[in-house]
C-alpha cells in the first residue's frame, strides 16, 4: 500500500478544527488573571522589610539623640564653662533636628511607595 505523504496527513488532520474560545471564557480568564496579578504584585512589591528596617534604624538614632540631649547634654550644661554653653545648645539642636528630619524623610518615602503601589494596582485592574 502506498504511504500517505506529509501533505496528505496535514490535509486530513485539517478536518479536525477547533472552535475559538468563547467570549465569556476569555472575559472570565482575564478577570482571574487580573486578580492573580494583584495577588502576586502585593507581596512582591510591598515587601515592608527594607523600609521597616530603615525606619527602625532611624528611630533608634533619634532615641539615642534624645538620650544624649537628656543625659550627656544635661551633665555637660552643668560642667562646661558658661562661654561654651552656646555651642552645646547648638549641637543639641542640630542633632535633634537631623534625627527628626531623617525620620520624617523615611516616613515620606514609605508613604509614597505605598501610594504608588496602590496606584499601580488600580491601573492594572483597569
Amino acid at each position: 500500500m502506498q504511504q500517505m505523504s506529509e501533505k496528505e496527513i496535514r490535509e486530513l488532520l485539517g478536518y479536525y478544527r477547533v472552535e475559538d474560545p468563547s467570549p465569556e471564557l476569555l472575559r472570565r480568564t482575564k478577570l482571574l488573571m487580573h486578580e492573580e496579578m494583584l495577588r502576586s504584585a502585593v507581596p512582591a512589591e510591598a515587601k515592608p522589610a527594607v523600609p521597616v528596617l530603615v525606619l527602625a534604624g532611624l528611630g533608634l538614632l533619634l532615641t539615642l539623640n534624645l538620650f544624649y540631649i537628656a543625659t550627656v547634654g544635661t551633665i555637660l550644661s552643668f560642667t562646661l564653662p558658661a562661654s561654651m554653653l552656646v555651642y552645646l545648645r547648638h549641637s543639641l539642636i542640630a542633632l535633634g533636628t537631623a534625627g527628626v528630619s531623617l525620620l520624617a524623610g523615611a516616613l515620606l518615602v514609605v508613604f509614597f511607595k505605598t501610594f504608588s503601589l496602590r496606584e499601580a494596582m488600580v491601573q492594572s485592574r483597569g
Partner: protein
Amino acid sequence: MQDGSTGTRLAEDFALVERLKQGKPGAIDEVVRTYQKPLYSFIVRMVENRETADDVFQETWIRVIRHIGSFRGDSRFTTWLFQIALNQCRNVMRKQSRRSFVDIEDVSQSLAVEPEVDADRILASGKVKKMLASLPVKMREVLILRYYHDKSEQEIAEIIGTPLGTVKSRIHRATSMLRDKMEAFQPGTQTV
C-alpha cells in the same frame, strides 16, 4: 536562522513579557489576544473535552501570571506557554480516566458555526478526532505540536521536556501510527 517576522515576534514577545512583569495595564489583554487561539486549540485537542479545556485554559493563564517573574527568556515565550499548558493537560488527564468515545456533538457544534460545513465534513472531523484520541498521549502530544502548531523538533523537545532524539523517533512512530489509522479511516468512507 531566524527570518524577519520571527525576529519581530520574538522582540514583541520580549516587550510583552516585560510589560506583564511590570503589571502594565493592557498587557493581559494583549497576551491573551495574541495566543488565545493556538493555546485553546492545543488544549482542546489534548484533553478532548470542551469543559475540561476551558478549565485548563484558565489555569494555564493564571499560572502564566503567577510565574511570569521567573520567566528568564531562555526559551521563547510560546514554548514556555505551551509547556505550562501541556503540564496542566497531563495533570488533568492523569486525574480523569481517558474518555474512549468521541463526543460527536462537540465536533458538530464547533463546525456548525461555519456556513460551508456539510455533513461529510462533520463526519470526517469526528473520525480525525477519534483517530487522534486513539493514539497514546505521548504520540498525540508530538503530533499536535508538529502538525497543528508547526513547532520544530527542537521546540517540541523543549515543550515536552525530552531529548531531541526521543522527539524525532516519537514523531516518526506517531506518524506511522497515524498513517496506518488514516489509511483505514479515509474521510469519505463510512468505517469508523
